[in-house]
Each structure stands twice: as C-alpha cells, then as structure tokens.
Symmetry: C2
Subunit: 424 residues, 2 copies
C-alpha cells in the first residue's frame, strides 16, 4: 500500500477494507446509495434501529400502555439516555440529563452560574462561539439584575481560538467562561483542561458547549473538572432533526446551583402537588416541563451505536480521515484556489474540515446538484465537510475532494448565480 | 327513549347510536377493547394516523431527504401546526407557535409581561392553578429585578375560581393576571371574557393556561381580547407523551414583548450568523432552539381530527356526557358517599369530572386493577374522570359509574392499602 498513490481508487478502497469500524456503515439507512453525505455535523444519518424503536414507543408504549407509560419508563427516560451520553463525554451517569433545547439549557446554566458568583460582572466568550450562544449570553447578561458585561474575544485568524487573549481576559471579576469546545465553522478544538484551569484559577465557573464535540471527539468533563456543559444530540449523536439537548452539571455544584425555569419535573415529590416550589435533589431540579418522549426515545439508538463503536476508535478513524482529507486538499484543491479554514494540527481539530474559495457558494451548488455530494455551507465562502466516522467511508472523503477539484478545474460552478440562496 | 331508565344499557346504547361523532372513535387505536380509558385529560389516545405519519417523517424526511428536510417543511413546522391549533382556540394562525414545554413558554411570556409593565409589582393568580404554573411564576417574580409579589388567591371551596377575590385583587399595581382557564382538579372553567376585562380595566396583561382547555372546550382568545396564552398538546389534543407545547401572543403585542430566552430560531436572517441578536418579526422571536421535529410532527394528526369533528360538536357532546355522568353520580354514587368535586353548572365546567370519596385512593386502585377502568387520581381523595368526546362513548361513562358504584357497594376496595402509591 505504501507504493500506491493516495489519489488512486486502489488506495482509498484499501483504507476502507482496513477500517475496523467499516461494519457500522451498514447500521445506518442509506436510502440513496449514490448520495455522498458529508453533513453529519449538521444532521446525523438515521440509524436503522431508530424507526422500529420509535414504532414500539408509539404503538405499544403510547397506544397500548397509555398513561402507564410514565411509570414504565418515560419518567426515567431523560436520565437514562442522559446517563448513556455521560459515557461519551467523561461524566458520571447522574451528571447528565436530556432536557429542552441547547439554548434553553444554556440559559438555565448561565443564569445559575451568574447567580452563584454574585459579586462578579463578566462573562467571557469568543467570536467562534455559535452565534445563538452569544444571543443567549447577551440576554442572560442583560437580565442579570446587576451590571454585567459579555466579553466576546476575537479569534486571531477566524480559525483558532483566542487562547492568549482568554488568559488575559479571565480575571477575578469573571463569573463565567462559556466556550464552544469544537467550534462550528473551523472545527477548532479547545484544550478543555487548560482553559478550565484558567477559569478556575480566577475563581470563575467554566461552561462548555459540546454540540459539535459529543460523539465526534473524546471529551473528559470530569477529567478537566469542568463545571457545566450543554450540547445537542442531532449532529454526531444521530438523534434526529431537532432532537432534545443535554445538560451537564458536575456533582459538587448540583445542590447549590438554581434552575431559573422551575417546573413540575424539577419538583421534589411532584405527585404531592404542593403549591410551593421545592427543588428535587441532585440534577433533577434542572428539568422543567414534561419531556417530549418520542423525540427523546429517538436519541437512544444512535447513542448506543457510538458506545458500541467506542470513542477512542471513532476518534482514531476521524483523525485518519480528516488528515487524509487535508492531504487531498493540499494536492487537489489548494492548487485551484481553495484555502484550508480548519486547523492543520489534528490535536486542535474536530471531525469536520472547512475549505474556502472565493466562489464557495457556487461551487457548493454544483457539488450538491451536479455531483451528488451534500456538504454544508457557511457564509461567506466556507464549505464544511463533515466526517462522521461511524458511517463516513474513506471513499466518501476521496469522492468529495476529487469532485470539488473537478468542479473548479472544469468551471462547472460558473452556471450558478453568485448570490446566496437559502442554506442547505 | 324518554320512557327508558337512564341507568339501563338500552338507554346508553341509544345515546351512542345517536352520537354524530361516534365514528371518530374508530380513528383511534383501541389496543385493548376491554379497557375503559377515562384519562384523556392526562394523556390522549393514539390516533391511528399518527404512527404512519411519524414513520414517513422518520424514514422518508429524515432517512432519505436528510438535511434537505429543513427547507422542505421542518423550518415551517412549529408555525404550521401552531396555526392549526389557533383555529381551536380562537386565534389567528400567526398568533400561535409550537415551542418548548408549557412551563418554559410560561416563563417566557410571564417574564416578558413583567418587563412590559415596569412600574407594577404584582402577579395575580389562584390556588386552583396547576402547581408548576405557580413554581414558574414564583421564579419569574423572584428574578424580576424589582420588588414583585405573587398573589395566590384561594378558591372559596376548592372547586370554583375565586372570582370575587380576583375583582378585588387586580389593581393598578398588577402587571399580570395568570390563570388556568379550565383547572386541572375540579375542571372549573373561568369566564375568559369577564376576567380578561377585569385585567384590562386595571391596565394589567392577561395570560391563560389552556392545557386542560385546548381541544376540550371552546376558547376564543381573540374574542376575549386575551393577551397571552400557553398550553400543552398531549391531553385533549392527542399529541403523544410530553409533546411540545404552544404559546400565543396577540398580534398587537408581538413586536413589543421581548423573549428572555433568545435563540437561533428567533433570530432575524438566521443564516447570516450575525453575532448580535436581532429579533425576528412577528411571533417568530419567541422561538428559541431547534424544534424537536419528531415530537412536533406527532401532534398534527390529533389536531386534524379535532378540526374535522369541530369544537362546537365536541363541546355539545362533552356537555351531554358530563351531564349524564353527574346524573349517574347523583343516582349511583352520592348514595354511597361520593362527593361531586366539579361544578354542577355545565357553563362553568370543562370536560372532566372529579368525584371524591374518603376511600378514594383504594377505590381508584380497585377500579384500575379489578374493573379495567383507567381514570386518574389526585390527592387526597379525588378521582378524575376524563371525558374526551372525540373517542369517549356514553357506554364508557356508564360503565365507569356503575363499576364505581359496585366497588363501594360490594366493598371491593377494602383489600387495597389506604396509603398512596405512585400516581397512575
């Protein structure tokens, strides 16, 4: 294999033959075998086990068991599925719950963190954070009931996190440091240990958004002594469109932090129907309303597949695939004007790779419509290529890069308008 | 029929034969034909159309169309299903959205209402409200950033709303009046016009929780000029366990009220990924995170059935059924020690009826385990009998009441412990 060129079909097929996780591809639905799907970082594929599992929840649990379903599993569901996700992110089972949407959970935890640091006036974040995290934090800051400043540190290059600036900005007036661990655009991946230590050295709390990290890169929340985390389940966890999010609060903080959005599911002895709120013990009081059982149930089969594959093996394959992708970028795409908008260093990179081109939007349209490759696109020029190692093959990566090359080489994108349409 | 006794099987079967909505029963799953389900006020039955609809969403929309699903319907789903619910509650289509859980929506709207009345210091409610509504309002009040008092008016008798006390308590220091329209325990039903007028006359905003009202009683939010409403979809709307909730903001207030929990789905031009929050126009900015598509999709078939049946016909049947139930209570249950814990006046009553008995818990256990009737139970002595007119038959009502009579008459409940177990 050493003598075969990395651009050849023989080479890439040999990579797939040697892939110890190759068998997992068959556990997902590939309705259109000719479509190359490189957008698992936005919406994960459908596991084959999900539809029958959901059918059981609907037809048997709801249809037959009716209200008994609550005592026969639904009440425990948010904690049970949360406990499985905990194993993917280095947390204890009773530190993770499925609850609400990522932004609602971020609102809860950031509000609680500000309340736990009443004499401090700053939240520190960066401009690589997902924009809606900034919206939530702006709102939390404005409603803090005391002066509050949201410090948004600029990335030095739009790719890497502002690590030096963070060290300068986090001080004894900082209540909370809130960052996305693996950022949505460049896939830059923070050093969780080092940044959490920075926050703790200043007496601040540390919150990580794991939306692009959970199921894609190894995360060890307990190892880093992280305080708080949120994340979504519809990307690398394959939980389905808009599937509910998770939240993490480390055990030592669970009794002291207060959930600002109180609800029945967070009430101690909820069937007593007491008129006064009394928070349930542990993490339970961070729940609010009745959980959307069908959408939560759909999360479990995808998480089970990741647990079966193992995060270490998934990460090894992901690194091998993104390194290969970058090798192909160097040989095929850089010569025709593409930039690499993700970190070169695999240690600082998640599982997607962004490449940029002045004609990025038109190239993406040609890729989708003429080349049957589905990536996603982020303004102004960024094509994100998502590697989901549990079902992405090396040949998928190779096809994507060779087709991208062909589009620009043959000018196939020139028939598309330069204006932005609705993102796909 | 006039000469037939209301206790006879001939009589009750004739009622079912004459029921113009009887055909809708066949549109729901009855997995166990011997089970009499009187808990549709807690979890509605599964419509037959739901499983195939959800299977299409999972297998075709997610499995085949993948990320394209967002542009092919998912982005519009919260508004489209909300628009259908609007027709059941007397609102315009663009005044209702599916979003989050009921308690999260109550938090959003109550917080926004307090902010819109910055010089006022009171929220007025009653002790018939669902306890978690009180928990949310307590939390909102405590975090108002100014002095705030939650006034919880006691019901005069545990059954009827404290209408006179409300008139006295709502004053020019009241920011918000927040009540459950049809209350969960007694099914007392407020006069929405009159109470909304009281609030408006004092310059307060009016919020209605429609969880036990939507799909069960006619509601005319626009006719009453109500400002705000929330409600759940898993009771009379038959949306499935924990299905997401709805929120209503009247058109005139949509641009002025602010959502405290900002998110990407509420952002103007969301695919611009701007770093600063700019609320979307209309009601859209009251959305927060990515909507749980599977659980929202499951709401639609049940709502469609209610729209097809028509709220007027459903209400007529519901009143006829609860009147019949109370007639049977009078003849069969009052003589053996049952109280009626719901209003006698149909105009002030929703679609469930509560009956009480000192041995209520034990009787409920006998009813469930020995008599194959599934009601629900609320401490201390309250058996709630839910009439869901779209699938409940008159014979269901008759069987429930005659079996309750038999249990007490024959002492069948005495083999059960008097202690409370987990609610069913």
């Amino acid at each position: 294999m050493a003598h075969t060129d990395a651009l050849s079909t023989d080479y890439v097929r040999e990579l797939d033959r040697r892939d110890p996780l190759a068998g997992f591809r068959g556990r997902f639905v590939f309705a259109d075998p000719d479509l190359i799907y490189m957008d698992g970082n936005s919406l994960g594929r459908l596991p084959k086990a999900t539809a029958p599992h959901l059918d059981d929840v609907v037809q048997r649990q709801w249809g037959e068991r009716l209200i008994h379903g609550w005592n026969e599993g639904w009440m425990a569901l948010a904690g049970r599925v949360g406990g499985k996700i905990a194993r993917l992110i280095g947390a204890q089972a009773d530190e993770v719950l499925i609850s609400d949407a990522t932004s609602v959970n971020l609102f809860k935890l950031a509000t609680a963190a500000l309340q736990a640091r009443p004499d401090r006036h700053k939240i520190v974040t960066d401009d690589l954070n997902f924009p809606s995290d900034l919206y939530v934090l702006q709102g939390v800051c404005e409603r803090a009931g005391r002066p509050c400043e949201l410090v948004v540190l600029p990335s030095p290059d739009g790719v890497h996190g502002p690590v030096d600036a963070l060290a300068g900005a986090i001080d004894d007036d900082t209540a909370l440091v809130a960052l996305t661990h693996t950022v949505f655009k460049s896939a830059y991946r923070y050093d969780m240990d080092a940044i959490t230590r920075l926050a703790h050295d200043a007496g601040a709390l540390m919150l990580w958004d794991l939306s692009h990290a959970a199921g894609s890169v190894p995360v060890d929340l307990n190892g880093a002594n992280a305080d708080l985390a949120v994340g979504c389940t519809y990307k690398y966890l394959n939980g389905g469109p808009g599937s509910p999010a998770f939240l993490f609060v480390k055990e030592a903080l669970q009794e002291t932090l207060q959930n600002p959005i109180r609800g029945w599911m967070g009430q101690r002895d909820l069937f007593d129907f007491g008129l006064t709120y009394e928070p349930a013990p542990g993490l339970q009081h961070f729940l609010t309303g009745t959980p959307p059982v069908l959408s939560i149930a759909a999360i479990e089969p995808g998480v089970d597949l990741l647990l079966e594959a193992g995060m270490d093996r998934l990460r090894a394959k992901s690194v091998q695939q993104t390194e290969y992708l970058i090798h192909l970028w160097e040989r095929l795409l850089e010569p025709v004007g593409f930039t690499l908008n993700s970190p070169r260093d695999a240690e600082r990179r998640g599982s997607h790779v962004s490449v940029g081109h002045p004609d990025g939007w038109r190239i993406a349209q040609a890729l989708i419509n003429d080349m049957r490759v589905l990536p996603d696109f982020r303004k102004p020029d960024n094509i994100r290529i998502g590697v989901a190692p549990i079902y992405t093959s090396f040949e998928d990566v190779w096809q994507t890069m060779t087709r991208l090359h062909r589009i620009v080489d043959e000018g196939l994108h020139q028939r598309y308008d330069a204006g932005f349409g609705t993102a796909t």
